[in-house]
């Protein structure tokens, strides 16, 4: 137990990443031009669906107990929802961004 105090809990590392990412987000989002605020919302929607990694873990769990059966079910539905969002979000963003054109000179 003497070494316990020396080891940094992984939670602290995650928290550091989180706090720094909030700051990065703050500065990056302020630099987004107001004309693109709608695509910003649709693309943030798409990327927040990276929660799909959790759905993949739950959906692919080894079926050993009733609990893991439930987890598979929840994971499957979450996977469908997240994928609707990923494909829908990125594609609709792409469709919108393709419309923004400069003046033809």
């Amino acid at each position: 137990m003497e070494h316990a105090a020396q080891v940094v809990d992984p939670f602290v590392f995650r928290l550091s990443i989180f706090v720094l990412a909030v700051f990065v987000g703050y500065f990056v989002v302020w630099s987004v031009t107001p004309a693109l605020h709608t695509p910003l919302m649709s693309v943030t929607n798409a990327i927040s669906s990276v929660i799909v990694v959790g759905a993949l873990l739950a959906g692919g769990v080894a079926n050993v107990s009733s609990g893991s059966g439930w987890a598979r079910g929840f994971g499957f539905v979450a996977l469908v929802f997240a994928c609707i969002n990923i494909f829908g979000g990125f594609l609709v963003t792409q469709r919108m961004l393709a419309m923004y054109k400069k003046k033809a000179k």
């Binding site: 992984p10 939670f11 995650r14 990443i17 989180f18 990412a21 909030v22 990065v24 987000g25 990056v28 989002v29 987004v32 107001p34 004309a35 693109l36 605020h37 709608t38 695509p39 910003l40 919302m41 649709s42 943030t44 929607n45 990327i47 927040s48 990276v50 929660i51 990694v53 959790g54 759905a55 993949l56 873990l57 739950a58 959906g59 692919g60 769990v61 080894a62 079926n63 609990g67 439930w70 987890a71 598979r72 929840f74 994971g75 499957f76 979450a78 996977l79 609707i84 990923i86 494909f87 829908g88 990125f90 594609l91 963003t93 792409q94 919108m96 419309m99 923004y100 054109k101 003046k103």
Partner: protein, 465 residues
């Protein structure tokens, strides 16, 4: 694949997501940014499948079928949705993120060994805290977004629904939520987990129903923010840096958009959340003034006057979106430009039902983005313009915001259209706007009202030219 390698790959995905938002700083770099986002997502999914492959053949089938169904539905929606329906689409997508967060948390709760957070019934306390926050925010985002979707798509009235003692109910539910989160962490029982979910679901409905239609841009940004925080909560549970980074990005993005929207309406975030704006109370204070005569004009008059102007500034609003008048409007602008008239577009931050709504519609109608200006950049130009052409906007041009201290919107930054030589208003009637406030501009000498559907009137003007 080693745990270190996969952690690095998740970090790469997170950085690509940051770049995808960074790309949106200009339309020119935005398409590349979107591509970065897609690559980041592909890396995250591939890494997860390589590092934690589905346990057996059936699980593989489940995963592949799940992705295929989601991809097919998502692709069809993305292709079919009309641009005017973007606000409700975004709200619907938010609800899916919220629900996915709840389901992933439930999956982690029932199969903690797959997530390396303990064994069933014996999950690490810290993971339970993170999980319960993720599930609570996710559930709240889900029902809140469903209500926002129903309001935005007019499947439900946009008017605020005020329950008696709603603040007490909300505070009570909030306290109950905290109590059950504490109990879940202490006991790890499934009942507490589902009670948290149910309370948060109810709270989501109660928080959004009292908020009126005019405040929807704030609501939709706020739910955007919530969906991010929910994802971050789950990211902590999974110890996944891509998810933590993304959650933080999306959370702060939504928060900034909410701030911009509130600022543009001169309202505090708290007053929006408490709700009730845009209902009977505001209408009663604004609509009781005596009716002065308004000058009505015809489309031919408007066509004649505009053709002989040298500078026209177009101010679009939600009415243009409802009438789908953006294409007719661009046609009109093209004809004016042919006559040598300078045409610009002025966009108020809260015009429409979501941030940037008008810009997307104008882009759809092939209006070049360098002709479209934000409030601060164009407000000083109205004084030099011969005509301000207001199509479907109302409250964002209301001079009462600058002149009438008793007005509910006093202090809100507005487009100073009244400084132009002539103001043309396309409106369906002389009724007050979405905020329920009378617009004194309708009755001024230099205002010409063109009553009718925004699209029909614009088409008639085009014919008149």
């Amino acid at each position: 694949m080693s745990a270190n390698l996969s952690a690095l790959l998740y970090l790469v995905a997170g950085v690509l997501f940051i770049l995808s938002l960074r790309g949106l700083s200009s339309p020119a770099s935005s398409r590349q940014g979107n591509l970065f986002g897609m690559i980041g997502m592909a890396i995250a999914v591939a890494t997860t499948l390589a590092n934690h492959p589905p346990a057996d053949a059936f699980a593989w089938i489940l995963v592949i079928v799940g992705i295929a169904i989601g991809a097919a539905i998502g692709a069809v929606i993305a292709r079919r949705v009309p641009m005017t329906s973007m606000p409700e689409l975004v709200a619907a997508f938010h609800s899916l993120v919220g629900m996915a967060a709840v389901l992933v948390a439930a999956g982690a709760f029932y199969a903690p060994e797959a997530f390396d957070i303990g064994t069933p019934g014996n999950i690490h306390k810290q993971s339970l805290v993170e999980m319960s926050l993720g599930v609570a925010i996710g559930a709240l985002t889900f029902t809140g977004s469903v209500i926002a979707f129903l309001k935005l798509s007019a499947r439900m009235s946009g008017a605020p629904i005020i329950l008696p003692a709603r603040h007490l109910i909300n505070i009570g539910l909030g306290i109950a939520l905290v109590v059950f989160i504490v109990r879940l962490v202490m006991t790890g029982s499934a009942i507490d987990f589902w009670l948290i979910t149910i309370i948060a679901l109810v709270l989501g409905v109660l928080i959004i129903i009292p908020i009126g239609g005019a405040d929807m841009p704030v609501v939709i940004s706020m739910l955007n923010s919530y969906s991010g925080w929910a994802a971050a909560g789950i990211g902590f549970t999974l110890g996944n840096s891509a998810l933590i980074i993304t959650g933080a990005l999306v959370g702060s993005s939504g928060a900034i958009l909410s701030y911009i929207m509130c600022h543009a309406m001169n309202r505090s975030f708290i007053s929006v959340i408490l709700g009730g704006f845009g209902g009977e109370t505001a209408a009663a204070s604004g609509g009781s003034g005596e009716q002065k005569p308004a000058k009505l004009g015809s489309a031919d008059d408007a066509a004649f006057i505009m053709k002989n102007a040298s500078k026209v500034i177009i101010v679009p609003g939600y009415g243009m979106a409802v009438a789908q008048a953006q294409h007719a409007l661009r046609e009109m602008a093209d004809l004016l430009k042919k006559e040598g008239v300078e045409v610009k577009y002025a966009i108020h931050p809260v015009a429409g039902r979501m941030p940037g709504h008008m810009n997307v519609l104008l882009a759809e109608a092939n209006v070049p983005y360098d002709e479209v200006f934000e409030l601060e950049d164009i407000n000083s130009e109205f004084a030099q313009a011969d005509i301000a052409f207001v199509i479907g906007a109302n409250d964002v041009t209301n001079p009462a915001a600058e002149e009438d201290k008793t007005s509910p919107i006093y202090g809100m930054p507005v487009l100073q259209v009244w400084k132009a030589g002539t103001v043309m208003f396309i409106k369906r009637s002389l009724a007050s706007g979405y905020a329920g406030i009378d617009n004194p501009l309708f009755y001024r000498d230099n205002t010409m009202m063109l009553l009718g559907d925004a699209k029909k009137v614009t088409e008639n003007i085009v014919k008149g030219m």
